[in-house]
């Protein structure tokens, strides 16, 4: 069981993702340079946040042409788990591995803050599991669960045409929506103007997940939240099932 963190020129959350997978989850994790041709040997592929190619032209628009992306698309097509966070989500949209697009925040400002993301579907490969927090309490996936995670982006305003939005709803591909502290989906709780407060979606097959919040920044009680662990734990368990490889997964201590 191996995880890859893709490094595009300009990725800047690569080290954070690598740290969480390797040190918090004890997973065999490698950086993969964007010029590599293959990610075939990995079971979980993470596209981290950052400003790939400086976000020049359009976020993710150049990164999708990186050599590694052909292999990412091929592996996604074979059902492998692909997780795109922030800029990674933008790249997945540009690469058409996920529908829709992320445009400039409606405030026109970059925004960095904690948000509440409401879990809309607890049966996906990325959001079905259960994980123990450092105080021993269990964080268990359930529809309506609120995950407290930071966002940090200038272009996280999710948009898609009506038909796509209808399909996303119909096939339960909307995984996270921005909500207020009570779980209500309101305009005030929407930090960037996303349609239907969408914070994260999967593809129809459910093996490619993109989200704007940063779960890797929410895996340590010192930083203020451990809610991001649910996503990594679920993804790792699903990837393990798929590869049928065994080996203990757990916090390195």
């Amino acid at each position: 069981m191996k995880a890859a963190v893709i490094r595009f020129p300009g990725s800047n959350c690569d080290q954070d993702c690598h740290h969480v997978l390797k040190n918090e989850f004890g997973l065999d994790t490698e950086y993969v340079w964007h010029k590599e041709e293959s990610v075939e040997q990995f079971d979980l592929i993470v596209l981290p946040g950052g400003f790939s190619y400086g976000d020049y032209l359009r976020c993710g628009a150049i990164a999708r042409f990186s050599p590694v992306m052909r292999s990412v698309a091929a592996e996604a097509g074979r059902g492998k788990l692909v997780l795109g966070i922030c800029n990674g989500f933008q790249i997945l949209c540009e690469a058409r591995l996920l529908p829709g697009a992320l445009i400039r925040n409606n405030s026109l400002h970059f925004v960095c803050e904690y948000v509440q993301a409401r879990l809309e579907n607890m049966e996906t490969a990325f959001t079905h599991s259960e994980v123990a927090k450092s105080d021993g309490k269990l964080l268990t996936a359930r529809t309506g669960l609120l995950l407290r995670m930071p966002i940090a982006h200038g272009e996280g305003n999710y948009r898609a045409d009506e038909e796509t939005l209808r399909d996303l709803n119909r096939y339960k591909q909307i995984i996270l929506r921005y909500s207020d502290a009570r779980g209500a989906i309101t305009d005030e709780a929407n930090p960037n103007g996303s349609s239907e407060n969408i914070a994260g979606i999967t593809n129809r097959a459910g093996n490619v997940f993109g989200l704007m919040p940063h779960p890797e920044r929410a895996c340590d009680p010192l930083l203020g939240s451990e809610d991001g662990k649910l996503i990594f734990q679920s993804a790792i368990e699903s990837a393990m099932k798929k590869t049928k490889s065994s080996g203990p997964i757990g916090k390195r201590n």
Binding site: N12, D16, W33, Y56, V111, P150, H214, D220, L223
Partner: protein, 748 residues
């Protein structure tokens, strides 16, 4: 050289070189300089590069200490030991002048420059702070005043988005700092940026051109015509005509710098590097002569080999360009291949442009033709040193009796003043959580960051109350250091070291120079008292607009270490039912206070006096109480005094918490004195009710007067004193404080 202008007295004067300095240049060269050489001397001998007016003052700083691994002035940034073989490199630098005329790029390239200073030392930059000063952005006056306010808002918005643009893209969190608004910065904002990096002791990189015969590589962005002679530009007063100097402002590309950062750290790890220096102020000129000077060698470069952005650039332009994202690397001979491999991997330009020589000369060629030839050490180190005349300013206007003001309204007005109001409009635009180490969100007394590589928790703050410095520069500077140390103490940290950014007016004016000298001596004395050596920093003079000099602003950046994660403490009250204690005395000094400035519109009176013994005792006491696990929140009293500090404790957390406060024991003094005095050495803590007595005795045992103020809880902040009562709904306090800056900035 073809088409180079003749050297005339006018041309010399235009380069900011005095007749005496020109004579010195002639005697160093033994001949007349050519145009390129004149340009080279003008930037190297500018205040920005040579500190010619401030050097004798800077020598007064304490620069050594047990933890100092690289001293101030030795390299691009100082390096301090943090234990277990780990070290930190940090520094603060200004980009005031560029930001005044082109706020976005001016601020962005300021961030880029300080980050390069840090990774040049071999350190991985892990966080930034910034200390900003602008003219007023609030108020709705008409006419000329309104024009000025709108301009200040544009500068403020531009600087903030410039910092966000660069810092967010490169992936270094901006986690704290300070922002003030005052008339004295109108037309001349201050943009001081701080960066800190982490490294192993054995990874410290040096900026010397060592090893005769070693090849000299240029890496990073191509050289263009931007930022021509920016260092010289920054060493003049800002005037109406300064806008024409816009070509002196550089243009930043954070994406390039991110690649450069990763490539340089990879290269440093490969062991191929003999010396490394960034090209910041004075670009190729400074990096070549300084590396040669440090190593006692010479460097010869060929400008034909320098990667260029545009054709037809003259040697003068290439040598003086301040294009960003460039480094000079001296490579150990025979290890050129790793350089090529790494820079090709990162798709960055690189070129072997020269070689280390043993003749002590900085020699610049274009092909076979020598276009400049200057003894490197003399160029880098022998700038004239001036001892400027200093004339004390008249003593500040005495405070006198103040008209009565309604304390209820005064507190709301203070909280809504942009200098005190929440800076969320700003830090929301900064990625303050990348690198997954931010343990205290912006807005508390100090920024707290977990450096994972080293498993160390650092606290950092930047402080300077420039009103105090304007009224009494020496006392103001002392207080800047004390307040920085106090902020660290409130966060649970022990201070390690200081970097400073001295922002003053034109040093040729004796009153300005007096302020500089007073402040430096105050800083130096206080740094000795707190055992925090100065590891480097920056001097920015000529901060003046046609209206006059800025208030003296010696910004102090201080870094401390938190021994244990359980010691991390923030300022906000943590729920109802806790006891609120004041460590320190009630105080009564209103001179120089924000209350007097904001409510009565005056900068007057004698600022508070600092007593080192009391200050050190209160800091030691709060640290002990934190270590013993008593302290749930700690916040120092600064601008706005006790009332503002209490309000901030109520409203700056995730959830608002009220408080019931009884100040009857402080006597029947005037309300404004009681609530808003800014006497030093005071910290508000909250502790569990049952720990209050123990905490009080412990503080008193440490020689710190301590008082029960009241309890947390409820929906109001209620302060009473004898028969007098002042209640404020916390919701109102929060609204005034949280939304003020956004309100002004998003006003249509």
């Amino acid at each position: 050289m073809k088409d180079a202008p003749a050297i005339t007295p006018e041309l010399i004067a235009k380069h900011g070189i005095t007749p005496d300095e020109y004579e010195r240049i002639r005697s160093i060269l033994g001949r007349e300089p050519n145009f390129t050489e004149l340009g080279i001397f003008s930037v190297m001998w500018s205040e920005h590069c040579s500190y010619k007016n401030s050097k004798p003052e800077l020598r007064k700083f304490p620069t050594t200490g047990p933890g100092v691994l690289v001293k101030a002035g030795e390299e691009n940034a100082g390096v301090i030991d943090i234990g277990d073989g780990w070290a930190i490199a940090f520094k603060m630098e200004s980009h005031n002048h560029p930001s005044a005329i082109e706020p976005f790029q001016g601020a962005a390239t300021g961030v880029g420059g300080i980050i390069r200073d840090i990774f040049t030392m071999g350190a991985r930059p892990v966080f930034s702070l910034n200390s900003l000063r602008f003219g007023p952005i609030s108020g709705a006056e008409n006419g000329a005043k309104q024009e000025a306010i709108l301009h200040n808002r544009r500068l403020f918005a531009g600087v903030v988005s410039g910092i966000a643009h660069y810092g967010n893209c490169i992936g270094i969190p901006t986690i704290g700092g300070e922002i003030y608004f005052d008339e004295s910065y109108e037309g001349n904002p201050l943009v001081n940026v701080f960066c800190l990096g982490v490294l192993r002791h054995e990874e410290i990189a040096r900026g010397g051109a060592v090893g005769v015969g070693n090849p000299v590589f240029y890496v990073g962005a191509e050289t263009g015509r931007d930022g021509l002679a920016g260092a010289a530009f920054a060493s003049r007063d800002l005037t109406e005509e300064s806008k024409q100097d816009r070509p002196a402002v550089q243009v930043g590309d954070p994406f390039r710098e991110k690649l450069l950062l990763e490539a340089c750290l990879e290269l440093l790890a490969s062991g191929a590097v003999a010396g490394i220096q960034d090209m910041g102020a004075a670009g190729l000129t400074c990096s070549t002569c300084e590396t040669a000077s440090r190593a006692g060698t010479g460097v010869e470069i060929d400008l034909e080999k320098v990667p260029k952005r545009e054709p037809g650039m003259t040697p003068y332009e290439i040598m003086l360009s301040e294009s960003q994202e460039r480094m000079l690397i001296i490579v150990t001979k025979g290890k050129e291949q790793p350089v090529r491999d790494i820079f090709e991997k990162w798709d960055l330009p690189y070129a072997e442009v020269g070689v280390v020589k043993d003749d002590g000369m900085m020699r610049v060629r274009v092909g076979a033709e020598v276009v400049a030839e200057i003894p490197a050490h003399k160029l880098a180190e022998d700038a004239p040193i001036y001892k400027r005349e200093a004339t004390p300013r008249p003593a500040p206007e005495p405070l006198g009796p103040l008209p009565e003001a309604d304390p209820l309204k005064a507190l709301l007005a203070l909280l809504a003043h942009p200098s005190i109001a929440s800076k969320n409009w700003v830090y929301r635009q900064y990625d303050h959580m990348v690198r997954a180490g931010t343990c205290a969100l912006p807005g508390s007394d100090a920024a707290v960051f977990l450096v994972r590589e080293a498993n160390k928790i650092l606290a950092a703050t930047s402080d300077c109350n420039a009103i105090y410095c304007a009224l009494d520069p020496r006392e103001g500077a002392r207080i800047a250091v004390a307040e920085a140390a106090r902020n660290l103490a409130c966060s649970g940290a022990r201070p390690l070291a200081v970097t400073d950014n001295l922002n003053f007016g034109n040093p040729y004016k004796p009153e300005n120079f007096w302020q500089l000298r007073e402040c430096v001596e105050g800083l130096a004395e206080a740094c000795r008292e707190f055992n925090t050596p100065v590891t480097g920093g920056n001097v920015s003079l000529y901060n003046q607009s046609p209206a006059g000099a800025v208030d003296p602003t010696p910004t102090v950046g201080m870094v401390g270490l938190i021994e244990n994660a359980s010691h991390i403490t923030t300022q906000a009250f943590k729920g109802a039912g806790d006891a609120i204690l004041l460590l320190g005395e009630p105080g009564s000094e209103l001179g120089g206070s924000h209350y007097v400035k904001v409510i009565h519109g005056r900068k007057a009176g004698t600022p508070p006096r600092l007593d080192y013994r009391k200050e050190k005792a209160v800091q030691e006491a709060v640290r002990s109480l934190i270590r013993m696990g008593f302290v749930k929140s700690a916040h120092d009293c600064s601008e706005g005094g006790l009332a503002v500090a209490l309000a901030e404790c109520c409203i700056s957390g995730d959830e608002m918490v009220g408080a019931d406060i009884d100040l009857t024991a402080f006597g029947p003094g005037p309300a404004d004195e009681l609530l808003f005095n800014e006497s030093q050495s005071r910290i508000i803590i909250s502790v569990r009710r049952e720990n209050a007595s123990a905490a009080l005795s412990l503080a008193e045992w440490q020689g710190v007067p301590a008082h029960r103020l009241g309890f947390t809880g409820g929906e109001q902040l209620r302060i009473k004193s004898g028969e007098r009562q002042w209640p404020w709904p916390v919701k109102d306090l929060r609204e005034n404080w949280w939304g003020a800056i956004r309100g002004w900035m998003e006003e249509s």
